[in-house]
Symmetry: D3
Subunit: 226 residues, 6 copies
């Protein structure tokens, strides 16, 4: 099968969690070696936020802050590529149009961000669209989409499936400053909607959870189209 | 001053309207030669729609349709660059990060689309942000933003100024298929909002109208931030 | 076998003929899947002529007109690549030296024009030379080379084989403005001559005709070397 | 004024003639510093022929032989660029479309060959066309165009002016193998003809001769258009 | 004058010290605006070490660790470029040969690392050589070269001038793992020696100290050639 | 197995020795076709020295002389690539990071130099490191490392194995001007040391000798790590 996974910045802490990255890589490599074509998009995480914050304080405009954040997502992608060893495609794409040429059965194509104004969630959605992926998994530090913010409200309840237009309503209230929390990126949701990509939001804490989602199992939150 | 103008696809008909492109170029060249730095982003128009339509019928995914549309916007940009003659920067940028290096006082930097998932409106907003433009003018085939669709309803009234969040509400209802009508592109609006770029929607029929908007005169519809 | 086919601009009308492009793609894909390595070069057609015409009226020099025509041939190539689906190499080369690296057995490598001063016929001849193609087929809107212009003179007779030096004599009388009728491009003929590439001129109306020519069958006009 | 000069391979011998290159550079630099925009195209010479010859013996096709010859013309261009010092643009273009962006008043833009199938004479003609040069000078090891080969026949007489169609007739009899004597390159002549570029063939032995030709003085052979 | 300054990684801490970067930028901008041409090379610092450490633990070879460190030096360069505002050249070079084309009087050209196996000290030395810089300043977290490690031995004495061959002797004892302490990089020293570039090692704590060194004042340690 | 071989400039004489290059290619092709992944790095040789010499006389700095020498190593690499025919990867890498993506089992990836300040020996060491080669063979015009210069002293004795630190001591006494004799390049030795690459210095006169060394047989001089 053809799959795309977005690995949230939470996997890439200030001091990169080598054990966590290594485990995720092992699971993705095994999944790819079954004959699957995987594109893995690395998010920004703590170091991206640190650089973006410094860039903003030094007077950088948001597009330039985006660019500096993209550089950090590519450094994160490089870590993941190293951890995947021979299971990884050895080149990191620098544009959407390169993806179909580089993606390969049995291998993981690793990438980071591409252009200002596009979150890595949007990159993952575009990668899923252009490779005609059968599944797009967005792995973050929460179990999926909740009725409320689970970090603030203990009564927050995980939603098993959610319509994309409801997500879009929520997304439009989020601000789009570089490096901001971007679970609900409107551009990514619009791409998912136009290509009707089967998509799930899951936790990246347990790599097996991510693999289960890639196989289309019922974990996290499923996105439903009208 | 530093300005960005998006020239809607209406300027680039199936049979390119050489007279209209020539007049627009003459006006933009004169404005730039006063010492202004101008970035002009060409939209897609009829030929882009024809190619996108064919690509879609041949089974292309929307990202690939975006890419083929982008090729046509670049052909349109090339026409505009030729019409500008020595007033144009002779290179057409292929990424946002190239813009600040190529933009120059007294010259017009012409460009088309860049990446799938980004309309040329979003490109214009990002160009305005990264060049810290003092004005962004979006020139289309209508006078600005109306209370209703002016092509369908004669009672539609031009709005003199509109809050960006109201535009965003409208924009989210629009579908994002390649080449679609994109006056109200949510990504472009989000960028305009985060950078608080002074922006206007105007008609491109009269080039002097576009120049007036670039000078910040009261024409068309002004976007207001909270 | 290794083959190169030039698909004349007639396949790419103002409103791209999706049915014709689709049929040609199906035939080429089947031929490639037999284990053949195919390079297909798309010509310009009506849209290229429209843009070149506009560029010239706006004051563009012929090299720049060539460049804008090349952009349109690449949009045409993209349509063909989409129609070929998984039978196509997913990248479109941007220089002659990339061709040997991208061409692959069982696949069709699609491309358009490359550089000013080189028609797509010359590109096809160079592609045939650098891939050591066993056959080069130039498919246009006529059945081959005629004793006279078959569109003007009903007595025009199809020539079964013609010496390259005779073609060259005719070719030198043709003017080389961008987008002009280029069946008899002197540069292409010179390349064919130096590499002694087995070449045929055939009609592109029936895809099976083109495939027959690729297999070396007696259709259209064969080019003979001294 | 805007000028293009092709410096024949004779300036770049097996053991590069540092004194001759230095003198030519001094003259071109002085001419440019008067406020002229100069593009200088370096030919191949003895080392290009040695590499092309070896490539051919090793089984290289003519396009690949062209490519290796192009590498040597670029090494020659680099020598000329070094000799020009601060009078040279510091970047060597790798495509025709880069030329207008890099060419600059008061400076010499140095380049070599670009693509297989294009001699450096054709590159010079295209450079002249795209920069709208007022003069194109082709400097070789003979004084201009002769009635016969001056190296073989002492009665050969220098022609003061010649019609381009007569040159084309002669040119078509020349073979186009990589690195071959290419005074009369048909592609170059076709470009000169379509752009009606005021052109002269002169000797490169005396740099002042080349500068005189760049100024439009009556030296060598002038090309006349119908 | 033409100057190159290497800004040690100490300026780029885990949490980028925005105040320190800002002050350094202000001083460099003022110095450049006097009409000087400055190339500033950013080192790696704490974040580069963190990523290199993670890459190595994940099994990356040293060349790949170098590459990931280079990405972080470029993020650091981007911060410096932002801080410099309009005093910076807006493009960051990605090869040595781009430097002469981008460097400009009155501006600071900012860059990071380029290739595996080359420290940013070597990059700075090559940049000094190819721009024929009149001074190369290597600013680190110590005052210059000491008789012993000043961090371990309070009796360590600052050396006012030192012969390059003595530095080379010391340098060869240092290991060359990615991200290691690289004051005494043998490749950088070899380049300095062959080009006899007037060079100083100084502290980057006080920007005025760095500017003084750029002006050739007696601060830190001067490198002397035989 | 994965192997890297540096072919010294002696293989690429002023008049390229087509027979010698052809034989070497035949041997390398046969070795690769056993299923081995080979990277072959071409040195500069006589033509590189001729161009570097001319560049230096014309006032080129050493970095620019390096660049011109690199162009010649790439022309040499092209000759070798042609001689290898279908056993060669058809693209020549232009950076270290491209190598893992292009190297392939059963094929020879040919390359030349990359960047100023890096000899082709250093390139070969970096290529060995990043491909995790099991052997690195440095083939020159002498049998290996001698107790003294074998060309000057008949009593010079070939050393069977030598510690890398002893080589480094010798290397540091060598000057690093562009194109200079570079058997003992300190940067290459440092890379070999950090990656502990099993390495041999052998003669390139007999291709079977080179293949024997690639197989790890006892020929020439083995480098030993502490």
């Amino acid at each position: 099968m053809r799959a795309v996974v977005k690995l949230g910045g939470a996997l890439f802490e200030r001091d990169p969690d080598v054990a966590a990255i290594g485990k995720m890589a092992t699971s993705l490599a095994a999944f790819a070696r079954e004959g699957n074509q995987v594109v893995a998009v690395a998010g920004g995480g703590g170091n991206a936020r640190a650089y973006i914050g410094a860039a903003r304080k030094l007077g950088g405009d948001e597009s330039t802050c985006d660019l500096i954040g993209i550089q950090l997502t590519r450094a994160n992608a490089e870590l993941l590529r190293i951890a995947l060893g021979s299971a990884a495609v050895s080149k990191i794409p620098s544009s959407i149009s390169e993806i179909p040429h580089l993606a390969a059965e049995g291998r993981v194509l690793v990438m980071g961000g591409l252009q200002p104004g596009q979150s890595t969630n949007a990159v993952a959605a575009l990668a899923a669209e252009i490779t005609r992926a059968e599944t797009l998994v967005n792995a973050t530090d929460v179990e999926g989409v909740y009725t409320q913010d689970p970090k603030k409200n203990p009564k927050a309840r995980l939603i098993k499936s959610v319509r994309v237009d409801r997500l879009l309503d929520w997304a439009m209230k989020v601000e789009v400053f570089a490096g901001k929390y971007e679970l609900l990126d409107p551009l990514a949701l619009k791409i998912m909607e136009r290509a009707r990509i089967p998509s799930r939001f899951v936790s990246l804490k347990d790599p097996q959870n991510v693999i289960a989602a890639l196989r289309g199992r019922q974990v996290g939150t499923l996105v439903v189209y009208a």
